[in-house]
Structure formats: C-alpha cells, structure tokens
C-alpha cells in the first residue's frame, strides 16, 4: 500500500474536502475539516487498516486567523507498515473537535494532554480534565501567547554568566 493508493482511496470517498496533500519525509500528510476528523479516522480504520493511533497532539498558530489550533493525528497501518498524519484546524474561540476515544482507548489520555496544554475541547470525551498540570490551572500553557523568557535578554541580574550582573543592579 503506497501513499498514492491511500490518497486515492480517501479522495474517492471524501472528494475535495481533504486538502493540502503533502509527503514530508515520506509521510502522507493532509488536512481534514474538523467536522470530518472522526469520519476520516473511522474510514481509515475500517477500510484502510489503520488500526493503531500512534500519536495525537496540537499545534498553535496564532497568526492563522480562524484556524489557530491544529490537532494532529498520527496513524499507523501495522500490517502494511504505512504511517500517515492528518490535521484538523479549529478556531481558538470555540475549539471543539470530536473525540476519538470511542475508536481508540489510547486517545483518552492523549486528548486530555492536548486539552491540558492547548485547551482543545474534545466533544464526547468521557473525562476531559487536566492530566499533567495541576487542576487549579486556569490557562493553557503551551499556547504561544505564553512565551518563555528570552535567553538573550540583557537586563538579567546574572553575574555568573556575565550578563548585566552588578552593573545592571547599579542602573536600577
């Protein structure tokens, strides 16, 4: 089973709804509308033998208005040894994406992790609560609006590394 055959199978079934076909480093990659994510997954599971959910995570693109969050699924057909990846983009105001937990038990914690860090609301998830962060947290830390400290900043009182140090203290 080649990438082209899978692409053909999917285009026959879903037509123009699947877009952005690519093959970066040999892995078939495409984008699905977020309403279709489960339908595509079910189709791949039933008809193309993709019975293994390798990984599930999100990416935040703050500049893509209306499609800020991408949920990325990696699936694997173990018998034919083919992997593929597809993305479902959603806006950040109502980040509702259907949950894959009914199809894959493995998706349970992966979706909880994605919710925990990006705030993607997986509709139909049995227990969508934080998994790695504390329950009291009220923001989604992996979003790009929470930047890490710039390592090259010069106002740091850090004598050990020769950045500013006592001189910066004097200037305060």
């Amino acid at each position: 089973m080649t990438n082209e055959q899978i692409q053909q199978l999917l285009t026959d079934k879903f037509g123009e709804q699947l877009t952005q076909w690519e093959q970066p480093y040999g892995m078939l990659t495409f984008t699905v509308p977020k309403e279709l994510n489960l339908k595509v997954m079910q189709f791949l599971y039933d008809e193309a033998g993709f019975k293994f959910l390798t990984d599930l995570q999100a990416i935040h693109y703050p500049d893509k208005k209306g499609a800020e969050l991408a949920v990325v699924y990696h699936m694997h057909n173990l018998s034919a040894n083919v992997r593929l990846r597809f993305k479902a983009f959603t806006n950040i105001e109502t980040p509702d994406v259907f949950s894959a937990t009914a199809l894959f038990s493995a998706a349970n914690w992966m979706e909880r992790e994605t919710y925990d860090f990006y705030g993607v609301n997986f509709v139909g998830h049995p227990n969508l609560i934080r998994v790695l962060n504390v329950d009291e947290m009220d923001y989604f830390p992996m979003r790009k609006e929470y930047p890490l400290e710039d390592q090259s900043r010069v106002d740091k009182d850090d004598e050990m590394f020769g950045r500013g140090g006592s001189i910066a203290l004097d200037n305060k």
């Binding site: 970066p24 019975k51 959910l53 390798t54 995570q57 990416i59 990696h74 038990s105 914690w109 998994v131």
Partner: protein, 412 residues
C-alpha cells in the same frame, strides 16, 4: 479527589458492606516512581482504580521551543532515565532526518552498541524489580553489578552515567577509547560476563514455581486491547503482536543485523518477563555482531566517529584554537545561531518501553516551533485500571512493575 464510591456496585457474595479507599502512591515503596493510584478495595480485591500522573511534569515541550537542537538532548535524558542513551539517540536521529545528515556506517554501529546496552540496562532493572516485588530479592543483586558495568561503559564514552547526553547530532563527541572496548568485552564475555549472569538469573526465575504462580495470569491483556490502548514495545509483544520499530522502519542500519523478535501470547506479567529476558539475549547478539563489524574498520576508517556536518557538529577543540573556520562554527553552534530548514518530521525508535517518537516542526528558526515526545509509558499506563480491576492488590503491584512504568517518561 472526590469520593469515588458512589457508582460502585459490589460483586455478589462480597463479605464487606463497603469498599475501602487505598492510596497507592504518590510515594509508595512499590510504585518505583511518583504517581498515584486510588484503589477501591473490596477486601483484597480491586473494584476500581484511578490513576493520577503529572507529579514530576517539567514542561519539556515548552522549554524545547526556546532551545537550539543540541540543547534539547539533555531534556531527552530525563524522559526514561533508565535508558537515557536510547532517548538521546532517538533525538539525534530525528534531528539528522530533518537536517538531511547521513551518518557513516561506523557511527551507526557504535550507536547500535550503545542503544542495545541501554536496552539491556533498562530490561534488567525492570525484570529484577518484578522479582523484588514478588519477594525474590536475590536476582536483583545478581544483575545489578552488570548495570554498573554498562554505566562504566557510558562513562568511558561520554563522562556521565545516568543522564548521559551521549553523542551529538551527527555522531559521537569522541571516538571510543580502548578502555571502553575492554569494558565492553568484559561485559560480553560468555563465561564471566553478562551472559553467564543472565543465565543464572533465568535459572532463578523462569521455572521457579513460586514466581510462576505469582505472575502467570496476573495483569493480562489481549492483543486487540493492547493495540487499541496504544501499547508498544515488550508489553505489546508479550500480548502477541510482533511490532518492533527496529524491524518495521529500520534506523541506524538495524537492517544489517540478524535478530528475532520474541513474542508472548497472554500479555500477562510472566509473558512480559519472558519477552524482556529474551530481548536481552537478542540485544547481546546484536552487540556482538555490531562489535565485530566495528572491528572490521581499519586505518583511517577506524577513526570515523561523526558525520561531516559542520553546521551542527561541534568542531574539535584543537581546531577551534587554531583554525578560523572551526572557531566560527564553534560559536555559531554554541550560541544557537544556526537556522534549520523548514519542515515537519516524525521519527520514532524502539525505546526500551516501546515506540519512542519525536514530532518536530521547524518554521525555519533556530529552535523548534513545536516538539512533541511520544512517550510510550504515558500512553500504555491508561490501561492500568483495566489490567488490575477484579484482581488482587498484590497483583496490581506486580503488574505495575512488569509494565515498567517510568515516571520521567510519563510526565515529560
């Protein structure tokens, strides 16, 4: 945590009129790591189990978004810290895939030696801990001295033992010393080395009536459920699925080696134990083959320990002091001022616990735009309630150790 007793229906014939809540963890001697299981017990039988993780979450994925590639290697150490070299190599291979660096064969073989040593050190800990948790302490002491020897080999190569940060993008930081090879030979020696000790270890456990009664049938999982739960590695193979990343998508020249994938069929603690033992034998055979191949390199070829990738591989110190070009590259790399190509890459290796994947997205900057670790432990730990519910409390403990749950890998 709110009361979990509301929806519990006690089985017929239960003597107890109510269940007992038991917190197994976060700091329990039998959990071997910081995670918590809230168990509802009917007498000694587990009715319900709820797992909590995240006690040592360190936000590696976020931190990685601010670091040049070579500074992410120390983060990967701290995933599965029982086999850090595997994590390091997986990360280097991911970077090399993104950057299009091709490593020489000798580097591949040296890496395989290190990776398989790491696999052995991980499996021997897991299997001997299964022994400890089932009341057989001796085996643990038998094999532990050889983990020490493995750590000494790491030490000869990279200077550290537990969190190794071994190797670089493109190869190793230096060629293996003679002392390293001598220690490797000592480890591989059939009479006095690890093979002899492993035979002894197997003699203590494999057909031991007490151990068999204790482990057979505890914590079983079917192949279908294991796949659905995203199991990989020895735990999946113990359930009867022969999926191994080393064979499915060979990396680092694994296709040059001859080895078999052991599989079990019931997926219980005993099968997991046997699969890990057999994998150690296979790893030993791979190391022997790789060491032979390494010895075949003569002359200048025997001095090759890294790829030609000046943009990412730190130049030798003596060149930095004497050559302008090397000095420039040195500073560019250390200050993290090398732009990487745009792309997205998923690369996975066969870690000690299963498919260890790195999903790296680069937007052409100096640091990853997004990096995700597929941590096998995190994914298969969700199956724990299903494995232990209905069983005895003591079975839960032994199931937990035979799954080889490493808190560092769970929490990232």
């Amino acid at each position: 945590m709110s009361a979990t007793t509301d929806n519990i229906i006690l089985p017929e014939g239960s003597i107890e009129k109510h269940t007992t809540t038991l917190n197994l963890g976060p700091t329990h001697p039998a959990t071997h790591g910081v995670f918590q299981n809230i168990l509802e017990l009917d007498g000694e039988r587990i009715i319900k189990s709820t797992s909590t993780v995240g006690y040592i979450h360190r936000a590696f994925e976020k931190i990685a978004e601010r670091r040049p590639l070579y500074q992410i290697t120390p983060l990967t150490d701290r995933l599965n810290y029982c086999s850090s070299p595997l994590n390091n190599m997986g990360w280097h291979l991911t970077c090399e895939k993104l950057l299009g660096i091709h490593t020489p064969k000798r580097v591949d073989y040296l890496r395989i030696i290190i990776m398989e040593l790491a696999r052995i050190s991980d499996h021997l800990i897991c299997n001997s801990i299964v022994g400890v948790d089932s009341g057989a302490y001796t085996g643990f002491l038998y094999v532990m001295q050889f983990r020490e020897l493995i750590y000494e080999i790491y030490e000869e190569i990279c200077g550290s033992r537990l969190t190794t940060t071994i190797g670089r993008i493109g190869g190793f930081e230096r060629n293996f010393s003679n002392a390293a090879f001598e220690k490797l030979e000592k480890f591989l020696d059939d009479k006095n080395g690890y093979p002899a000790q492993l035979r002894e270890f197997e003699k203590l456990f494999n057909r031991n009536r007490i151990f068999m009664e204790r482990t057979i049938g505890s914590g079983p999982i079917s192949a279908e459920r294991a796949l659905n739960y995203g199991f990989t590695g020895p735990n999946l193979r113990a359930a009867g699925v022969d999926y191994d990343v080393r064979v499915a998508t060979p990396y680092s020249s694994y296709q040059d080696f001859d080895f078999t994938i052991p599989v079990g069929n019931t997926g219980d603690c005993y099968d997991r134990f046997l699969v890990r033992n057999e994998e150690m034998w296979q790893s030993l055979s791979i190391i022997n083959q790789a060491y032979k191949k390494v010895q075949e390199f003569k002359g200048a070829e025997a001095e090759v320990f890294h790829a030609d990738a000046p943009d990412y591989y730190l130049p030798e110190k003596k060149d930095v002091y004497t050559k302008m070009e090397a000095l420039i590259y040195h500073f560019k790399i250390v200050m993290g001022e090398t732009e990487m190509p745009v792309g997205e890459v998923y690369h996975s290796i066969e870690g000690a616990n299963g498919e260890l994947g790195y999903y790296l997205i680069s937007d052409g900057g100096r640091t990853p735009y997004r990096l995700h670790f597929r941590r096998p432990c995190f994914i298969y730990y969700q199956a724990f309630p299903e494995l232990v519910e209905g069983g005895l409390l003591s079975d839960a403990i032994i199931t937990m150790s035979s799954l080889n749950l490493i808190a560092g890998e769970m929490d990232a």
